[in-house]
Subunit: 402 residues, 2 copies
């Protein structure tokens, strides 16, 4: 793929981490980078102009959601996601696998998950953690997965080819192979079975992509394997030998495992291709991911937290609805350069949340997304200046000391 | 008030209408102008940057709402509404009278209104037209009105002095005398009684303002009198003789009466002071108001309509949720210069509404507010170029022809 290129400029000494840049048909991403999530083709409560002031580099939209609403054929007709959404920078779509299994999935062999933990962030509005979402019927067969829409219960069938076809229609710069995203609590037996399926599907995705791509989209394979070292290494080995443009590292991670799992994978993957750690946005995990060789991250946390009044500061998260902020006439962070901090006080943001004004979500999301983008920028600078460990220690001790 | 000045530059031949500008401590308003409504200190779903791209000149916030939440003393402590909200342009607050009577008011002599029609636009979220709002206890006495908060039912008491004191704390450039806003369906007997009260209260507002103002706020008196010519002329005569900086024209108008009522008032008021037609935003009414000598207008309609998917076009209002827009890849209006029309299609906006995304309200509100600001700009230009009647006929025949 000639319009896609990853360049490593600097490595963290004695570690897997690196800084560099990814060139795409819609611009360059300085890495390591955070991709802001716009599930349905809009980063909730933000205009494209708002996004730009957060210094967002890259926008990740969800294939599953857009396929169901407004439909990938309609997005194609609109000229693709860039034209449809107005975001002209680098764009990513995921494979839909995670949502098919988390939102649509449930019964059938070994797929009787309730939606909880990390998965709960993907629940439709109004649904609570540990609540089943509609008729959760997903059946896996060798060819793909049939599932019911969480919107209207209609029946759909995703195959590897279908996922890629949808992503071709959506037209993002980076797309992902269709994978089975297992829960980290699944048995070794089930993980193995799922991993084999993911690998078979990956080959089919690659084949379909090579035969049908217009040459402007990079295809990433998704390494799975749960919390098992041999499976993770096997999966990384498998993917590394295939002609993908980059790699995703998937799976709902268990906190304690993150650094280790990622290290197994990235020690095995070819170093010259970019790696996206899927669904990760907690600062501690970002540091672990970067240190162990990940280049891209994405998470709904900054916007989801923002909408409920949880704001990021260098001293940790705060709940702006706390009574002490009602008459606090200082910005969220006195040294933050974001639009929200440069123009508004905690008292005003607190008022907006209490008055249930939509601007509350907007100002909070701008700050939180900027906060993560700034963190990534600081990490890049620290890598270039050989002080990654110093930054990591400083940031983490302040952010988590409470 | 030295920092406040109204200049008439051009009149409509043989009519009361005029174009000019109002200088305020926070900038100049080209008149006739539309004031965008930001009830609780935010124009719903818009950032200040969004507001600027709508070419908004002036921001009207509601005294009643801000007094209850977050409290006018807190806004004062924040440095006033300009500092609190980040809007640095001209700002208006109303007297709170309209909401006290519409939202808080109910029983007592002749004040047993249900909330419906025009008033319904002021209902708290979730409340329906013709539904009573909480314990509707408002008692009028010679000194003022006691009422219960629509938020928590707490008891409050507004006097003319209290209304002005609150508006001094809020710090808008233009503030209003406390008035009793009667329904146009009230009897002549009641209208007379209410009007006398409004006049007594106006004098008290003026006195309190003169004794307590810091000299940066202009005070407008509010002419009332319902649909009765003698009362309207009497009220305009009364106010015209007092030293107000300008005038509001109040009352829930009956459609057929608008032009006539306003003409009675403006034939009587001193021509050299600006006049604000309160709560009016329908294009037909704006033309009637301008033609009959009004300089300022305000209404929640463009943002309220926007949030429910009703979009303004030169061919009348459209409901973007209509099925035919789901695959319409053209802008709302091909010749509109607003942010929404320059960047997004009907299909995308339709998708945002169907997906219940907050950006839907933002993009729709930007367009609708821009639409009204552009209409006012066109009206001003038409007045300057002696073609007001031509514009009025063209606009109205196209907008209302359906």
């Amino acid at each position: 793929m000639k319009s896609f290129k990853f360049t490593i400029k600097k490595k963290i000494k004695d570690r897997l981490g690196r800084a560099g840049f990814i060139e795409t048909p819609h611009g360059t991403i300085e890495t390591p980078a955070f991709a802001v999530v716009g599930t349905k083709g809009t980063v909730k409560s933000l205009t494209i102009e708002d996004l730009k002031v957060t210094e967002a580099q890259v926008f990740l939209a969800n294939t599953y959601h857009l396929y169901l609403q407004p439909g990938s054929k309609l997005v194609k007709e609109a000229g693709g996601l860039h034209a449809f959404t107005g975001w002209n920078g680098p764009m990513i779509t995921d494979s839909g696998g995670f949502q098919v299994f988390s939102l649509g999935a449930a019964y059938g062999k070994n797929i009787t998950k309730f939606v909880k933990g990390e998965d709960a962030k993907l629940l439709p509005e109004g649904k609570k953690e540990e609540e089943e979402v509609g008729p959760k019927i997903a059946q896996i067969d060798a060819d793909g997965v049939s599932f019911r829409s969480h919107i209207d219960g209609s029946l759909h069938y995703f195959t590897p080819e279908k996922s890629i076809e949808i992503q071709h229609d959506l037209g993002a710069d980076i797309i992902f192979a269709f994978d089975e995203c297992t829960s980290p609590t699944e048995s070794l037996h089930y993980q193995k079975e799922a991993l084999e399926r993911t690998h078979r599907w990956a080959k089919r995705c690659l084949k379909f992509h090579k035969e049908n791509s217009n040459g402007t989209q990079a295809l990433f394979g998704v390494v799975q394997g749960g919390r098992f070292e041999d499976l993770r290494r096997e999966s990384a080995q498998f993917f590394g030998e295939l002609d993908f443009d980059g790699y995703g590292i998937g799976g709902s991670f268990i906190k304690e495992d993150i650094a280790t799992s990622v290290r197994w994978v990235n020690e095995t993957l070819p170093p010259e291709k970019p790696r996206h750690m899927l669904g990760i946005g907690e600062p501690l995990d970002i540091f672990a991911g970067v240190e162990n060789g990940c280049d891209l991250f994405d998470c709904v946390a900054p916007t989801r937290n923002g909408r409920t009044g949880t704001l990021y500061t260098k001293d940790g998260k705060i709940n702006i609805l706390n009574a002490r902020f009602t008459n606090d006439f200082t910005p969220l962070e006195s040294d933050c350069e974001c639009y929200t901090c440069k123009n508004f006080t905690k008292a005003y943001i607190s008022h907006l949340f209490r008055a249930k004004e939509m601007l509350a979500a907007t100002l909070a999301s701008i700050h939180n997304v900027y906060f993560l983008n700034k963190l990534m920028k600081d990490i890049r600078e620290a890598i270039y200046e050989d002080r990654f460990d110093e930054l990591k220690q400083q940031f983490i001790s302040r952010y988590y000391e409470k």
